[in-house]
Amino acid sequence: MNSLLALLIIPVIGSAAAAILQRYRIVERLITFLTFSLTFLFLFGIKTGNLFTWHLDFLGKNLEMGLQITPLSIFMLYMTIAFGIVLTFYNLSEKSKMKGFLLLLTLAASNWIFMSADLISFFFAWELMGWSSILMIFGGRREAESRQGALYYAMMSIGGSYSMLIGIFLLSNLTGTFSIQSNVSYLVSILSVHPWWVLGILSLFFAAFMIKSGIFPFHTWVPYTYGEAPDGFVPYLSSVMSKYGVYGFLIFLPLTLGAHVPTVLGLAWPNYVLLWFGSITAVVGSVLAFMQDDVKKLFAYSSFSNLGFILAAIAIFTPIGLTAGLFHAFNHLLFNGAIFITVIAVISKVGTTRMSEMGGLWQKMPLTFLTFFVGIAAAAGIPPFAGFGSKWMIFQAMISHGLIFATILLFFSSIASFLYLMRAFHAIFLGQLSHRYDNVKEVSAIGKITESFLLGALIFFGILPGFILDPINSIVSSFGLKPLPTSGYEYINGFFSSINMVSIFIVVIIAFIFGFTLFAVVAKHKKVPQEDNYTAGQIPQDWNLTPEMYQFSYDFYEPMDKELAPFLKVKIDGFFKGFGESVEYIGGAVKEIFTGNVQIYTYLAIGGLVIFIIAGWVVW
């Protein structure tokens, strides 16, 4: 079978099988996992330049729908399917809700998005992914909220798709073809002649991509949706599905490469604008994240904040910017996946998503704790874990253009990410263990395997980034740019510097060994239970002090509220909600036309006729 077709057909068949057998949960999960694995096997058969086209007798045009493989699509396919395998493997054992057949449909759509050679297949796949994920989000932990979340997502997503649809037809009417390549090259050719027109088309497309990735000002749906989606699906939603927007941007961004357009600080102005959208997203996400008490919402904000980083990086369409963006996309997939999988593991054990109700779980779930720790260290960009290299490259890309304000925004976001990550870390795993969770157990064997794998991957790709940078370099050269120099798997080569990650790793390890030796040699310590704590002389038991009362994690950054209040007053969310409400209000008013009174209907009909006739008379 043609591998390209197999990537689409196998998930669909798997989906049908899973739908039929969904009554038997374990079978359904197994089918989901196996389908992902099988799809992955077929990935080895594809090569750059593979093409597949079929003709569709539709629209009265010679409509060619095609699949094609570029280095970028290979990279995306490997990344997303591999993550899907990890997630579905994890879901084999856990009780988290997830509808396998919809996930597999999403997989088919996802593969199709990355492989589509023309805008019609792209749109088709995009919409398919849209509705299958919408249906998936129904049926989260909390019923009413998950419905709201799914609807919010649906509204934004469908709005975005329609905007893209209009863009597609505006474009194809001029070029007479739907092929992505020829449309993009057409846009390149008219960019300097009709810049506003191109901008109009691009903004129609970019709106869809921004919505999907949750870029400011379309970020508002993200927390509602990620926060309420079924636990087994959230990692996929935030790690994989947010990357479709990135892929979309990468389709259109090369068009400013060869064109003569006004530049700002060496950046073509459309890129400059996108860069600002990215930077603002990064900041907005981080700032809103550290105000959150709901752990899924917190990482939802975190997720789109990182997407802001990625967008800012790829907007600087230089070799280092592109490399940094793609590298961060990969790292984000990895650490965000690790974080979300550990988070849903915790949620499934404690049965709540409110962080202020958790705490001290490191004693009960040590492996989960360690995975989470490494995950947030990577998210904070700390060497030698995955996440450091890409963040550092993003900063280099920005500094090299002298984009001081955007850089500072991003750096602030990076620091703020440290804040919210520490908060989640503290509130979930550190601090006092409530007696409610005395019986909490570590995740099952399958969960342990998944977590160890993610832990290993975070370290492995941290110290040997070359395994990711190599394919990224081939993507960079496929865009006609000169890739960054490579010098071995352990090096991250940047603009200013090259970093040998292995050497850092070794130095840190030696320092750790020394630290532990010192720790073991000097005076001995006494192990005490966590309740034995400094309480200013009060004996906790006398005052009925329970561990959860002795845990400070609610409203952790309350003093910041005051400083950020002016910024938090701007409520984009409120705008969308208010818009929705007023539409509903107008709907209520319009409904009153149909009063149920037949006389009114008669008057309406006659009135309509009279207006026609008068209008006819006047023009006549």
């Binding site: 400094y534 002389g537 009060q538 004996i539 006398d542």
Partner: protein, 181 residues
Amino acid sequence: MSEWTEIVDYFRGRSMWMLHYCTGCGAIELPPTMTSRWDMERFGITPMATPRQADILLITGYLAIKTLKRVIYTYEQMQAPKWVLGFGSCTINGGIYWDSYNVIERLDKYIPVDIYIAGCMPRPEAILDAFVKLKEMVQKGEAKGYEKYVKNYDWYKANQDRVLKRTSPVLKEIEKVTKIG
């Protein structure tokens, strides 16, 4: 080995961190002791915030049974080596509260006191004198109150229980109140 212990003891004597448990009026003597007139930091003595960090427990004044309980708890939270300074007459014989029904008379029946500072109030000079004495004792390896406490724990415990028993009805009441609240 003994040389090593001597060295350690020498440094311990030079760096004593103090947790002041200010129950009574004696606390008023501490600010002058710390500030420019007498400056106790020149002996390496610094006030500390928690029992985990402290070497000296300085108890300034009378101890009601209620506070005694906290003192014992705090003392047990401190880690060896640790020393106790009883400050003022109240810790020695109850002072003016000698016949009170709920104030203890002798602190060292409940926790081992290394040095008492007599007086009502003792002046900062007296406090500094006590610190210097303690330093000398530590450096000579004589201040071993904490070891005494471990050795005679049963005796101390019995003494503590005898008086602390009296607080239980009150605390029981509180328990009820907090439960209802």
